[in-house]
C-alpha cells in the first residue's frame, strides 16, 4: 500500500491544482495553481523512476554497475521544470500587463471576450 503512496500524492496534487484554477478569483493565484499542477507530474515521474537501495546516477566515485535510480526520468523532469518556469514567466507578464491596462486581476471583471 505504501508503495503506491507517491502515486496517490501525484493524483491528489493534480486534482487540487485543477480545483485551484477553477475556483480562483485572482489571475496570479491561477498561475501559481498551474505551477502546483505541474509539480504533480514531477512527483509521478520521480516515483516511477525510483529504485530502493539505488543511489544517484553519478559514477564519479562508484563503479559502473552499482544500482542507481533511473536517470532518464530526472532528465525529463529537468526539461519539465524549465518549461514550467518559462510558461509561468510569460503568464505572469500577461497578468502584469492586464493589471496595467484594465486595472484588475480578477477574472470575473476581465471578461470582455465572451459568447
Amino acid at each position: 500500500m505504501l508503495n503506491y503512496l507517491a502515486y496517490a500524492v501525484a493524483a491528489w496534487v493534480f486534482l487540487w491544482g485543477l480545483y485551484g484554477i477553477v475556483t480562483s478569483k485572482n489571475l496570479v493565484h491561477q498561475v501559481v495553481c498551474l505551477a502546483i499542477l505541474q509539480t504533480s507530474t514531477y512527483v509521478l515521474l520521480l516515483a516511477i523512476g525510483f529504485k530502493i537501495g539505488g543511489t544517484a546516477p553519478i559514477f564519479a566515485d562508484i563503479p559502473v554497475g552499482t544500482p542507481v535510480v533511473d536517470p532518464l526520468v530526472q532528465a525529463l523532469m529537468l526539461t519539465d521544470v524549465v518549461v514550467e518556469a518559462t510558461v509561468a514567466a510569460l503568464l505572469l507578464s500577461m497578468v502584469v500587463k492586464a493589471n496595467e491596462v484594465a486595472g484588475t486581476v480578477d477574472p470575473e471583471e476581465l471578461r470582455i471576450l465572451m459568447g
Binding site: A10, F14, L18, I21, V22, T23, S24, L27, Q30, L34, L37, Q38, S40, T41, L44, L45, I48, L72, V73, L76, T79, D80, V83, T86, V87, L90, L91, M94, V95, K97, A98, V101, A102, P107, E108, L110, R111, I112, L113, M114, G115
Partner: protein, 606 residues
C-alpha cells in the same frame, strides 16, 4: 541538398535565424528584419518540399546524434520518422508562415522586431512536431509551439481583451500539456521507452488494461485540447478574436490540425495493437465526439457576428469533421483527413487574411459595424465568396476530395451517417461566411443583430489605413485561396493519400523500420472511386448554405416563415453563456470532458 541534410535544417535553420534576428533587432530596420524573415520562411518552404519529394515513396528515419538503436530494438536517441503525411503537414506550415510574413510586411504595427523571430520559432516547432518519432520530443515541440503561440496571441497589448484571450489560451493549453506529461510518464512506467515504435512494440497486442487506457485518455485529451474538440474548445474563439490576422492563419490553418495529427500518430503507432479488440467501440466514441464538435461549432458559428470569432467557430466545426476522418480508424479515412487538412488550411488561412484586409481598410471587425462598408472592394468580396464555397466543399476544392474519401470509408464500416454531419457543418459554416459577405460587401438587407462579442477588438493591427489594399496584403490572400483549389486538381491525389495513410497505419512494419533498420515497403496505390455522390452532397450543401444566407439577409422582405433564421443568428443562450470568457469555466469543462470520456473508455474499452 541531400535528404539527410535537409531534415534537421528544416527545424534548425529557422531557429538559428530567429536567434540572429533577436540579437540584432535593435540595430536593423523594420524592412531588413521582414526581408530576412521572409527569406527564411521561403527557404523552409523549399526544404519542406525537398523532403516531401524525398519521402514520397518511402519514409525515412533520421537518428539525431548518430544514436542508432541498439540490437534488441532499444532506442537510446531521438529519431525523426519522416513520412509523406508529416512532410505534407510541414509544407503546409511553411507555406502558411510565408504567407503570413508577407502579409505583415511594413504595414503591421511596430513590435520592435520581435514578431518575426517568434513566427520563425513557431514554424520550426510545427515542422519538428510533424516529423518526430519520439513521445517526449513530440511534447517538447508541442510546448515550443504553444509558448510562441501564447506570445503571438497577446501581441496587441494596448487593450485588455488580447491579454484575456492569450491568458485563457495559455491556461487551458498548459493544463492539457501537463496531462500529456502524465500520460507519457505512465507509458514509460509500463514499457520503459519513449520512442513510438519501441513503446508500440512493447505494448504489442496484449489487451489494454487500466493503466494503458488511462495513459491513452490523458494523452488523447491533452492533444485534443490543442485540436479544439468540444468540450476542450473554449479557448479557440477567444484566442482568434484578438490575435493578429497572420497569426490566426497559423492557428486555424495548421496548429489545430497538428493536435489531431498527434492523436492519429500516437494511436496508430502505440495503441492500435492493444486496442485492436475494441476498435469498433473506440470508433463510435470518437465519431460521437466528432459529431458533437461539428454541430456545436456550426451552431455557434452562425450565431457569431465578430468575423474572426465566426471563422474560429467554423474551424472548430471543421476540426470535428477532421476528427471523424481519424476516428473512423481506416487508412482511407486517414487519407481523406490529410487532403482535408491541406485544403481547409489554405482556404481558412485565406479567409482570415481577407478579414484582416477588412480590418485594415475600415478599422472594424463586427458584421453589424461593417454593414455596407465593403462596397467597392470587389476582389476581396470575391475571395470571401470563393472561400465560403471552399468551406462547403464543392467541386473544384480539395475539401470535396477529402470529404468523399471519409464518407466512403464511413460506408465501409457501417457509419455512413457521418456524411450528414459533414453536410450540417458545411451548410452552417459556409452560410455564415456568405451571410457576412452579403451584408458587408453588398450592403443587402438590414444590419446584423448586435451582440457584445462583435464590439471587441476594434483596434487596428496596422499602422495606417490606405484607400487601396496593398499588394503585400492581397497577394498572399489570393494565393492561399487559389492553393485550396489547386490541391483539388493534383492528379491521383486520393490514391496517393490513401497509400501514404496505409504506410502510416502499418505499425508493425513501422516498428521494424525504426528499430531493426528494415527496408520500407512501397506504398500501395489504392483505386479511386467516383466522386458523384460527394459532388451531389456538396452541391446540395452549397445551395442550402446560399439559401440560408440569403434567407437571413432578406428575412424581413421575404416570408415571415424565415424568422427561424433570426433565432439561429441569436444563437442558443445557454450555449453562448457557456462561452463565458472565464478561464475557470473552461478548465471545469475540460475536467468534465475528461471524466466523461474516461468513463466511456473504462466502460467500453476495458
Amino acid at each position: 541538398m541531400s535528404l539527410t541534410t535537409a531534415i534537421p535544417f528544416c527545424v534548425a535553420l529557422p531557429l538559428i535565424i530567429a536567434a540572429l534576428l533577436a540579437l540584432v533587432s535593435r540595430w536593423i530596420g523594420r524592412r531588413v528584419c521582414d526581408s530576412l524573415a521572409i527569406a527564411a520562411a521561403a527557404c523552409n518552404v523549399l526544404l519542406a518540399l525537398v523532403i516531401l519529394r524525398g519521402v514520397w515513396s518511402h519514409p525515412l528515419i533520421y537518428w539525431f546524434g548518430n544514436w542508432w538503436p541498439r540490437p534488441g530494438g532499444v532506442a537510446l536517441g531521438i529519431c525523426f520518422n519522416v513520412d509523406a503525411v508529416g512532410a505534407a503537414l510541414a509544407v503546409l506550415t511553411a507555406t502558411l508562415t510565408l504567407a503570413g510574413l508577407i502579409y505583415s510586411w511594413k504595414i503591421f504595427e511596430d513590435t520592435e522586431n520581435h514578431f518575426q523571430p517568434l513566427m520563425l520559432i513557431f514554424m520550426a516547432a510545427m515542422c519538428g512536431f510533424s516529423y518526430t518519432g519520439d513521445l517526449f520530443n513530440l511534447f517538447v515541440f508541442f510546448e515550443l509551439m504553444s509558448v510562441s503561440a501564447f506570445a503571438l496571441c497577446g501581441l496587441k497589448t494596448l487593450e485588455p481583451a488580447p491579454l484575456q484571450g492569450a491568458f485563457n489560451f495559455a491556461i487551458v493549453n498548459t493544463v492539457g500539456a501537463f496531462m500529456i506529461v502524465m500520460g507519457i510518464g505512465l507509458l514509460y512506467a509500463r514499457t520503459g521507452a519513449l520512442n513510438f515504435a519501441q513503446v508500440g512494440r512493447s505494448l504489442g497486442r496484449t489487451p489494454a488494461d487500466a493503466l494503458v487506457l488511462l495513459a491513452f485518455l490523458l494523452i488523447a485529451v491533452g492533444y485534443m485540447t490543442k485540436a479544439a474538440i468540444v468540450p476542450f474548445h473554449f479557448w479557440l474563439a477567444d484566442a482568434h478574436a484578438v490575435a493578429p490576422s497572420p497569426v490566426c492563419v497559423l492557428f486555424s490553418g495548421v496548429m489545430v490540425e497538428l493536435g489531431l495529427y498527434a492523436v492519429a500518430r500516437i494511436y496508430w503507432t502505440i495503441f492500435s495493437g492493444t486496442l485492436a479488440a475494441h476498435e469498433g467501440q473506440l470508433r463510435e466514441i470518437l465519431l460521437m465526439l466528432a459529431t458533437l464538435c461539428a454541430v456545436v461549432g456550426g451552431l455557434m458559428c452562425y450565431a457569431e457576428h465578430h468575423l474572426k470569432r465566426l471563422l474560429a467557430f467554423s474551424t472548430i466545426s471543421h476540426a470535428g469533421l477532421m476528427l471523424a476522418g481519424i476516428g473512423l480508424l481506416t487508412p482511407k479515412a486517414l487519407g481523406g483527413f490529410l487532403i482535408y487538412v491541406l485544403s481547409h488550411g489554405t482556404i481558412k488561412g485565406g479567409l482570415f487574411l481577407s478579414a484582416g484586409i477588412l480590418l485594415h481598410r475600415h478599422q472594424k471587425i463586427g458584421e453589424d459595424h461593417l454593414h455596407g462598408c465593403g462596397r467597392g472592394m470587389w476582389w476581396t468580396a470575391a475571395l470571401f465568396v470563393i472561400g465560403a464555397f471552399g468551406l462547403a466543399g464543392i467541386l473544384p476544392f480539395g475539401t470535396l476530395l477529402g470529404e468523399s474519401m471519409i464518407s466512403e470509408a464511413a460506408k465501409s464500416v457501417q457509419q455512413s451517417w457521418i456524411a450528414y454531419a459533414f453536410v450540417f457543418a458545411e451548410v452552417f459554416t459556409a452560410g455564415a461566411v456568405l451571410r457576412a459577405t452579403f451584408r458587408i460587401f453588398f450592403g443587402w438587407g438590414e444590419p446584423a443583430p448586435t451582440d457584445k462579442s462583435s464590439r471587441v477588438e476594434e483596434k487596428p493591427e496596422t499602422e495606417e489605413t490606405r484607400q487601396r489594399t496593398p499588394a503585400a496584403m492581397f497577394l498572399p490572400t489570393a494565393a492561399l485561396i487559389l492553393l485550396g483549389i489547386a490541391i483539388g486538381a493534383v492528379p491521383q491525389l486520393r490514391g496517393t493519400a490513401e497509400g501514404a495513410a496505409g504506410v502510416f497505419v502499418d505499425s508493425s512494419h513501422y516498428a521494424q523500420m525504426v528499430l531493426d533498420n528494415a527496408a520500407p515497403a512501397p506504398p500501395r496505390k489504392a483505386p479511386e472511386e467516383p466522386l458523384t455522390s460527394s459532388i451531389v452532397r456538396s452541391s446540395v450543401a452549397g445551395a442550402l448554405a446560399l439559401a440560408l444566407a440569403l434567407g437571413s439577409v432578406f428575412r424581413k422582405k421575404l416570408a415571415p416563415a424565415l424568422n427561424f433564421t433570426r433565432s439561429l443568428e441569436l444563437g442558443n443562450s445557454a450555449l453562448r453563456a457557456a462561452h463565458s470568457g472565464h478561464p475557470g469555466d473552461y478548465v471545469a469543462w475540460q475536467s468534465l470532458g475528461m471524466a466523461a470520456i474516461g468513463g466511456l473508455f473504462a466502460w467500453l474499452l476495458h
